[in-house]
Point group: D2
Chain length 369, copies 4
Amino acid sequence: MSRPIKRIAICTGGGDAPGLNAVIRAVVLAATNRGWECYGIRDGFNGILFPERYVEGGVIRLTRERVRGIAHLGGTILGSTNRGNPLHFPTRLPDGSMGEMDRSAEILDYFARQELDALVSVGGDGSLTIADALHRKGLRVVGVPKTIDNDLDKTVTTFGFDTAVSFATECLDRLHTTAESHQRVLVVEVMGRYAGWIALHAGIAGNAHAILIPEIPFDLDQVVRQIRARDDDGRLYSLVVVAEGAVPLQGDMEVAAAAEAGHEQRLGGMGEHVAQALQQRSGKEARVVVLGHLLRGGSPTAFDRLAALRFGAAAVRALDQGLSGVMVALAFPNVNYVALADVAGRMKAVPLDSDTIQTARDLGICLGD
Amino acid sequence: MSRPIKRIAICTGGGDAPGLNAVIRAVVLAATNRGWECYGIRDGFNGILFPERYVEGGVIRLTRERVRGIAHLGGTILGSTNRGNPLHFPTRLPDGSMGEMDRSAEILDYFARQELDALVSVGGDGSLTIADALHRKGLRVVGVPKTIDNDLDKTVTTFGFDTAVSFATECLDRLHTTAESHQRVLVVEVMGRYAGWIALHAGIAGNAHAILIPEIPFDLDQVVRQIRARDDDGRLYSLVVVAEGAVPLQGDMEVAAAAEAGHEQRLGGMGEHVAQALQQRSGKEARVVVLGHLLRGGSPTAFDRLAALRFGAAAVRALDQGLSGVMVALAFPNVNYVALADVAGRMKAVPLDSDTIQTARDLGICLGD
Amino acid sequence: MSRPIKRIAICTGGGDAPGLNAVIRAVVLAATNRGWECYGIRDGFNGILFPERYVEGGVIRLTRERVRGIAHLGGTILGSTNRGNPLHFPTRLPDGSMGEMDRSAEILDYFARQELDALVSVGGDGSLTIADALHRKGLRVVGVPKTIDNDLDKTVTTFGFDTAVSFATECLDRLHTTAESHQRVLVVEVMGRYAGWIALHAGIAGNAHAILIPEIPFDLDQVVRQIRARDDDGRLYSLVVVAEGAVPLQGDMEVAAAAEAGHEQRLGGMGEHVAQALQQRSGKEARVVVLGHLLRGGSPTAFDRLAALRFGAAAVRALDQGLSGVMVALAFPNVNYVALADVAGRMKAVPLDSDTIQTARDLGICLGD
Amino acid sequence: MSRPIKRIAICTGGGDAPGLNAVIRAVVLAATNRGWECYGIRDGFNGILFPERYVEGGVIRLTRERVRGIAHLGGTILGSTNRGNPLHFPTRLPDGSMGEMDRSAEILDYFARQELDALVSVGGDGSLTIADALHRKGLRVVGVPKTIDNDLDKTVTTFGFDTAVSFATECLDRLHTTAESHQRVLVVEVMGRYAGWIALHAGIAGNAHAILIPEIPFDLDQVVRQIRARDDDGRLYSLVVVAEGAVPLQGDMEVAAAAEAGHEQRLGGMGEHVAQALQQRSGKEARVVVLGHLLRGGSPTAFDRLAALRFGAAAVRALDQGLSGVMVALAFPNVNYVALADVAGRMKAVPLDSDTIQTARDLGICLGD
């Protein structure tokens, strides 16, 4: 059906995630071993849209040598991530105001001119939506899911998440003895704007005493009760994990108002507000630790390296089999393919009836409800 | 159907695995939070069969305090693992020769006398077979799968495996630069008597150049070819991962004979034989590194801690729901239950058509065939 | 003067530090192997001053069994740290106002009554000053230095510091790729109120582009210059390490004022102010990451474990040799003893002519001057 | 004597050690920041002696870009290590037999022709002896000490050793629970042919029960006694750390004979012989784990990175100050310089009266005497 592939390109979009380089390496090796040439687009699609910015070219040849020894390195050799969506690119309009334009034709044109037969697009929801649009416009595209937060639908998990959970768990391990020695409440804020996967998994593995996630609006007084119960038991400290997107119950106006005010005055995220409210209500010293950026970088865990390498190889096999418009996905124990159209714009929250939520309750961890 | 549970016991059997203590902790907390009492049988079933050996008792009360802070510790607080199968217990017969006897009645009797309502049995194939037999004899039993090698059927994975793969991968990372500096072939032997999961996963994640697993009888000359191809490419070193249970193709009599002879004279495992044969055939210096015991211990990874905690909690929920004769299993994203009878005696090998095998080939890793 | 020792006590004071348990273990084993009995005072001196608070006693017997397997655990088995200085203990005076009293007689009396022959006191500047006072009042005392910040005089280093530097370095490693991908300035605040050891050592090892320490008042415009020079070189991100006690040059009123205002309104530490000012002056997005509590806990590195074990053993040997009023100290390659009186109240800053400072300059790292 | 420097070269010799790349980075940055050019000689001195082997040249320009991001990577970007001593280079003589020749003139000539003003030589005893010889022949040379084993004289420690001790300690941590679960004696062989630093430091930090080092000829029956005493105490396992260069007491002919025989038949190192003899004499199962190559590679610890960076910067400062014939050395808290002539050919053993040895005894660790 589709003509044989000779040259492909790969791009990485969105925030940093451990495993990006492993995906790139696998794509390059799997393609090279098939006799294809492989190219990397720098800085999202900027390498194509702004070639004049790059002395050595905005699209670079990726050889076996170029991807040697990069699988365990964090970041991406393709540079920083894209800032503009090429389908809705920020542009100054003739009347001087800011508007947007669709620059996808430039990308399609570049592929045609350079005789690039296909694109492997690694990214999150935004990048995959763009990938789907390019596929609909005729480009052969395979997507690879990237999300630290684990909130992409149709794949059990993806690379980067295990590394983030591992490091957050290590941080919780470190904080236990210090919280205990200082008899404090420590609030640990982790990533997770829309879904509480990191908070829940790291909170359980790291033995937190309360975990607040976006999926369960929290009643802070339940957390205060947990802290007091521990005090009564002679356990004079508590660790509370808070996803950045956790939200107070409507009734808990105080925390909500503080959070809103905080955003205006840059007083910090939800973790800071929870810490302040807990200190006030529990009468114990409370401090916040914001892990934030620390969870995005670093060398990927073996789990994430393997997942990333499997994804990269599977993306090339998909192209080799003539597929387009699909995303590689993890459906343990196998990697399979799902339609990009079924992924874009959907978010995978923690199911409230999952056994992991039940495990937290069985262990006596307060979930704020 | 079943009377309400008030008291349960837990036992751990077989070799060491990171995560055992996390399972114990989850069982104890989930049971205690239901108002049940929880007891731990020491040293497999020895705590029941040989109570005289234990000053403080062969079966100990496990309270919330007793399992505090143990989730991240390797090993098991229930002591060493069982040496005898209580269903076929080694016994000196009246005529002086050695035979075996079924001592399961002593166990059932102990549970009845102590008014213990159920057993959580954590172990590998052997322990789970015993668990199934006790279930058939009327004991309420739930099993929790334990195998470093990942070779238990009906569960995608279990705790301990991720820790083993992570550490093996870290070891491979360490060996790359040394092998390169010294221009050597390094053969790394990992666990995996019947299945090559650790070798395959760590080998891919750790960027090995050849991986030999029990599922694919190896032709050592293919590995020699890989080493030579690398040499020709200016890459003067190679890393070869060998599962301890890897077997040479029938034609490769030399390696097979050396392996057989080696077992008689204690000259080392398959890794050593592969290293010697590679040195001889490739003309390069080759050395073996045997990871063996290093893969069984250590603090469990966050992944394994979470899996172990989920398993422990799920085992208690199963008992609470009146189940017996089942094993908890991981069927991502959920934990579910499978019949012990369907697990016992079955082994999960790496499927030759899995995408992981295909990933290895796509990356250019030699699998010995 | 010194009658043979039969029973000793140990106490730990001040903030948490990785290695405390290793010191305790070494003291207990070295004492026990000499036939001495060993006791642990809980929560600083609270175990003696408030015995009624402890069901199992405020001073507990420490046996070989009690200290098994604790050398690699963070925290201290002797509980939280002391809140009151027994020489100046906060007390409500007869007139209702708060004052202080010297409760050291209660401690001396306790030692006499319980026939405890000596004290090993593990702690920072405050605890060692108390130890010296107790020594002057006739108690046999040996001190063990504890400071994460490495700011105690008369010892090259002590346990806990290497663990803190290691973790801070790992955090910097993680932040490099993320800062690069997002083209940001990341400001990393580490502990160090009076001395910049952690900032300097981790900053160099972790490849920071600027390091601000208390010893060198900083001109923020020098940091802006460094960021711009990197930008001009195509390196669109920068990592700035800031010790919490770093201070702006007098001329830099803006940062100083913000810092002062911040302390009133709880807007964060010096890291936050530096980040805000850098964002404003450099025009680049800047974010702060506060490591704070993360540096106090966790399993000690091998270096810190060994240092802690050597210190504990040396403290017992000192007592065995009839010494009192001394602190064990590291004078590579040996442990030696210095007078407590020579340590108390003195602070060890980074010498401005040290080769480490020179190394930072040689590597092109901006030190803010 | 010393005209201003414009161009320098760096070479690395001997076995792999974590931190080599950090030294290279520091030398390049410190030199470049002085306006000097920096060159790297590949594969020891092979880059000069065998230029025809290198397509891109045997001596490569090292720029700021070339050493970016390498400080935390193991190995050396200058390739494998030297195989031949240029002062005594293996050569086929006219009569066909093998002899040796002094090829140092070729090196001096290369430096003169290329207008290279000085050499930074990073290596162990052998490399430093060569460096001293080149210095005596008129080359400006500064040495940087490299030894995993910590056996170089005149420096308290050097880079690589802390990484090796850390990893060996982590391995011991992992082996504790497994040895306990399986009730075995585990013998862990570590590097240290002439000095027992790694064995002693890791053994203490990792809580070994016996440590055998070259400095103390061992009586294996003392180890058997230790194992039995632990058994009697209900501790049914033991960990024994053995430096590869440990030697049995003359009286212990059996172990010595086995070791000698083993070397002939390639039956393994001293660890294997100790394990076999312990199994025979103690009646317990004993296994050996050989860490060997695992201790040479990997990412350097923060301690080693800092030490390596300080050494590299100090080497350049030394050249800048007109020094030659010196080695940079660590004399805590400072780096200083010692004469190469005072280092070459001397070995730093563990002093038997060091407090570290005494610590081991205080903790009840058997040292085989």
